[in-house]
C-alpha cells in the first residue's frame, strides 16, 4: 500500500534519514517511533510531499509519488499544532479539503456533517478553531484529514501537548475511528506508550536509521538493538563477557554471575543484558535461586496499580523492579532481587 524505499534525506551536510525502507499494508496502523531529531518527522513530511528526498522512492498504491507535489497525492494529515485555519470556521476547515478535491457543493455539505458526526462534534461546525479546547481541535483536524477519503492518513504527534488523561482517552478514540473508517495509518510519535498501545507494527528510528520494524509485542519483548531495549520500556542493564560453565552460558558482571537464556551464544562475546522491571522479583530474604542479587532500596514510586522500586546493588549499579502496590518495604531496607534466566534480553 505504502512503500518507502531506501529513503535518504540530507539537509546540507547533515543527514536526517539514511536508507530507510519499510512497507505498510492496506488498513494497517503503523507507528514511527523515536526520540526527537531521529528523522521520523522528516520521513512523514517526505511521504506527504512536503520534503524532497535526497534519494530513494516513495510508492503509494503501486504509484511512484516521489516527484508529485503534495496536492496530487491524496493524503490525509493531522499535524501536532493541529494546523487548523484560524480564519475559517470548523465547517469551512473541513470543507476546504473536499472543495480542493473537487467535490460538488451538495457533497461537500453532506460530508462535512458526516465528518462532524464521526468525531462526535456535530454542534461545533460554526465555531472558530480558537474557541475549541486542544482535544476538540485535534478531533476537527482529524475530521478534516479524513473527509475526502485519503489513501493514507498521516498523524504527526497529534497527541503531544494533551494532558495524560485526555491523551489516554484520545488513544482509544483514535483507534476506534481508524477501525471504523478502515484507513491505512502512519503515526509518528516519541511516546512509546502511544506506539505500543495503538499500532499493528512499529518502526523504531534512531539517528535516521531504522533500528527495528516489528509488532509492538516483539519490540518490547525482543528488542533488536540496545537502543530499542533502552528507548522502549524501562529495564535494568548489565554488561559483561560471555563464558560457559557446565554447558550454560553465563556472564560475570563485577562478581555477579548472570545465567543467560540461551547456551548457544559464543564465548568471549561482549554483551548487554536487559531485564524488564516486571520480570524482577523482590524479597527481604534470599531464596538461593540463580540470578539473585542483594541490594539496598533507594526509592519507591507508587504508581497506583503497582510500585516501582529502585535499588542499588552491591557493585553500585541500579536495578528497577515492580512490586505490588504499597509493598512492605522501606527505603534503605536490605532486599534480594532475582529474575529467571529466560527473561534476560541478550544483545
Amino acid at each position: 500500500m505504502l512503500e518507502v524505499d531506501t529513503f535518504t534525506k540530507y539537509y546540507g551536510e547533515l543527514c536526517a534519514v539514511e536508507d530507510l525502507s519499510f512497507r505498510i499494508e492496506e488498513g494497517e496502523f503503523v507507528t514511527l517511533l523515536g526520540p526527537s531529531g531521529c528523522g521520523k518527522s522528516t520521513t512523514l513530511h517526505a511521504i506527504a510531499g512536503l520534503v524532497e528526498p535526497t534519494d530513494g522512492r516513495i510508492r503509494l498504491r503501486g504509484t511512484d509519488v516521489t516527484d508529485l507535489p503534495p496536492e496530487k497525492r491524496n493524503i490525509g494529515m493531522a499535524f501536532q499544532s493541529t494546523a487548523l485555519f484560524p480564519h475559517m470556521t470548523v465547517r469551512e476547515n473541513i470543507a476546504y479539503g473536499l472543495k480542493m478535491h473537487g467535490y460538488s457543493a451538495a457533497d461537500v455539505e453532506d460530508r462535512v456533517e458526516e465528518s462532524l458526526e464521526l468525531v462526535d462534534m456535530p454542534d461545533h461546525g460554526d465555531h472558530k478553531p480558537g474557541e475549541l479546547s486542544g482535544g476538540q481541535q485535534q478531533r476537527v483536524s482529524l475530521a478534516r484529514s479524513l473527509a475526502y477519503e485519503p489513501d493514507i492518513l498521516l498523524l504527526d504527534e497529534p497527541l503531544t501537548g494533551l494532558d495524560r488523561v485526555l491523551r489516554e482517552e484520545m488513544r482509544g478514540w483514535l483507534n476506534r475511528i481508524q477501525r471504523e473508517v478502515n484507513v491505512t495509518t502512519l503515526y509518528v510519535t516519541h511516546d512509546q506508550e502511544d506506539a505500543l498501545s495503538m499500532s499493528d507494527k512499529v518502526v523504531v528510528l534512531n539517528d535516521g536509521q531504522a533500528q527495528q520494524i516489528d509488532s509492538p509485542e516483539r519490540i518490547y519483548e525482543s528488542p533488536a538493538t540496545p537502543f530499542v531495549a533502552e528507548f522502549v520500556g524501562k529495564s535494568t542493564q548489565f554488561t559483561g563477557t560471555v563464558t560457559h560453565e557446565n554447558g550454560q552460558a553465563v556472564v560475570y558482571n563485577d562478581k555477579k554471575r548472570i545465567t543467560l537464556p540461551d547456551s548457544s551464544i559464543d564465548d568471549d562475546q561482549s554483551v548487554s543484558l536487559y531485564v524488564r522491571p516486571e520480570d524482577i522479583e523482590v524479597s527481604p530474604e534470599p531464596t538461593g535461586a540463580e540470578n539473585e542479587f542483594r541490594g539496598i532500596v533507594t526509592d519507591i514510586a507508587n504508581l497506583g496499580n503497582r510500585a516501582e522500586l529502585s535499588a542499588t546493588l552491591e557493585d553500585g549499579s541500579t536495578a528497577l523492579a515492580h512490586t505490588t502496590r504499597f509493598p512492605d518495604i522501606d527505603i534503605d531496607d536490605d532486599i534480594f532481587l532475582r529474575f529467571p534466566a529466560e527473561r534476560v534480553i541478550v544483545l
Binding site: 496536492e71 493524503i75 494529515m77 476546504y96 479539503g97
Partner: protein, 287 residues
C-alpha cells in the same frame, strides 16, 4: 529578618517606600498623554479659532475661499495620489515581504535594503530620484533616450512609493512571518496548489498587516509635502504644498488654518468610511 542596606541602596529604598502604592501605571501614561495633548491636540484646536478669525468682519471668508477650484483640485489630487501611491506601494511591499517571509535563502541583505533608507532623510532620497530621472541623469544614459518623467504625476508617485515602501514592508512582513508554516503545509496536503494556498490561506491571514500598512502609507502619502515639491510641477501641487504656501509665502495664517482644518476633517471622515466598509476592528482583531 533585617537586611543591611548601605548608602545609595538605602536612599532608593526610602524613595521606593515613599512611592509605593502612590504611583500606578496610569500615572506613567500621563507623561505620554500630556505630551501629546500639549503639543498635538492643543495646537490643532488652536487652528479652529484662527481659521474662523471670529473677531474680524468676514469670519467665514477663508472657508469660502477653500471652495475655490484650484484648492478643491489640490484636495482631490492629495487623496487621489494617496490612493494610487497606496496601491502601488502595497503591491510592491507584498511581493517583497512574501519573498522575505517564505524564501529559504538568506534574507538579511534584502532586509538591510529596506531598513537603511529609513535612516536617510526624505529630502536626500527625493533629490536622488530627481537626479536619477533628470534628462541628463543615469536613466537617460542607460536607456539612451531622454524621458519626460520629471515634474509629472508618475514621478511624484514613484517618489512617494519609494519613500513609503519600508513603512509598508514592515507590518506586512510581520503578519506573513507570523503565519505558521504548518498551515501552508496543511493547505497543500489538503489538495490546494501553491496559488490557491496563497489566495485562500496566506492572503487572508496577512490582511491585518496589509490593512495596517495601507493606512500608514495612505495617511503619509496624502499629506506629503516634499514629494510633490521636489518631483512635481505646478500641476502636481498637493494640499500640504498649498498650506505651506499660504502660511510661509503669503503669511495668510487664517487661510492656511482653514485649509488644514478642512483637510483634517476630510481625512478623518475618510478613515471613518473606511472603518465601516472594512470593519477595522474585525480585520485587525480577527486573528
Amino acid at each position: 529578618m533585617s537586611v543591611q542596606r548601605g548608602g545609595l541602596g538605602r536612599v532608593t529604598h526610602i524613595i521606593g517606600e515613599g512611592l509605593e502604592g502612590r504611583i500606578a501605571n496610569r500615572h506613567l501614561a500621563l507623561f505620554g498623554l500630556g505630551f501629546v495633548g500639549l503639543f498635538f491636540v492643543l495646537p490643532i484646536l488652536l487652528l479652529i479659532p484662527e481659521s474662523l478669525s471670529l473677531g474680524s468682519t468676514t469670519p467665514f471668508e477663508s472657508y469660502r475661499r477653500v471652495m475655490n477650484g484650484i484648492y478643491v483640485d489640490a484636495f482631490v489630487r492629495s487623496f487621489l495620489y494617496g490612493f494610487v501611491t497606496t496601491g502601488v506601494t502595497l503591491a510592491l511591499a507584498y511581493m517583497l515581504s512574501y519573498f522575505l517571509a517564505f524564501s529559504t535563502e538568506r534574507v538579511r541583505t534584502a532586509m538591510i535594503l529596506i531598513i537603511v533608507p529609513l535612516w536617510i532623510a526624505y529630502i536626500v532620497r527625493y533629490f536622488g530620484i530627481l537626479l536619477f530621472l533628470s534628462p541628463a541623469g543615469p536613466l537617460a544614459d542607460v536607456t539612451g533616450f531622454e524621458t519626460d518623467l520629471l515634474f509629472t504625476t508618475p514621478a511624484v508617485i514613484i517618489g512617494l512609493a519609494n519613500v513609503y515602501l519600508p513603512f509598508a514592508v514592515l507590518p506586512i512582513y510581520n503578519s506573513l512571518n507570523a503565519i505558521d508554516e504548518e498551515l501552508v503545509n496543511a493547505s497543500r496536503v489538503l489538495g490546494a496548489g501553491k496559488w490557491r494556498t496563497i489566495t485562500k490561506v496566506i492572503f487572508p491571514l496577512s490582511l491585518p498587516g496589509l490593512v495596517a500598512a495601507g493606512l500608514i502609507v495612505f495617511i503619509l502619502a496624502a499629506g506629503s509635502f516634499l514629494g510633490p515639491a521636489v518631483l512635481g510641477g505646478p500641476k502636481q501641487t498637493m494640499i500640504a504644498n498649498v498650506i505651506a504656501q499660504a502660511f510661509l509665502d503669503n503669511f495668510n495664517i487664517q487661510f492656511a488654518s482653514a485649509l488644514a482644518i478642512v483637510y483634517t476633517v476630510l481625512l478623518v471622515g475618510l478613515l471613518l468610511v473606511f472603518n465601516t466598509l472594512f470593519d477595522l476592528q474585525e480585520v485587525l482583531g480577527n486573528i
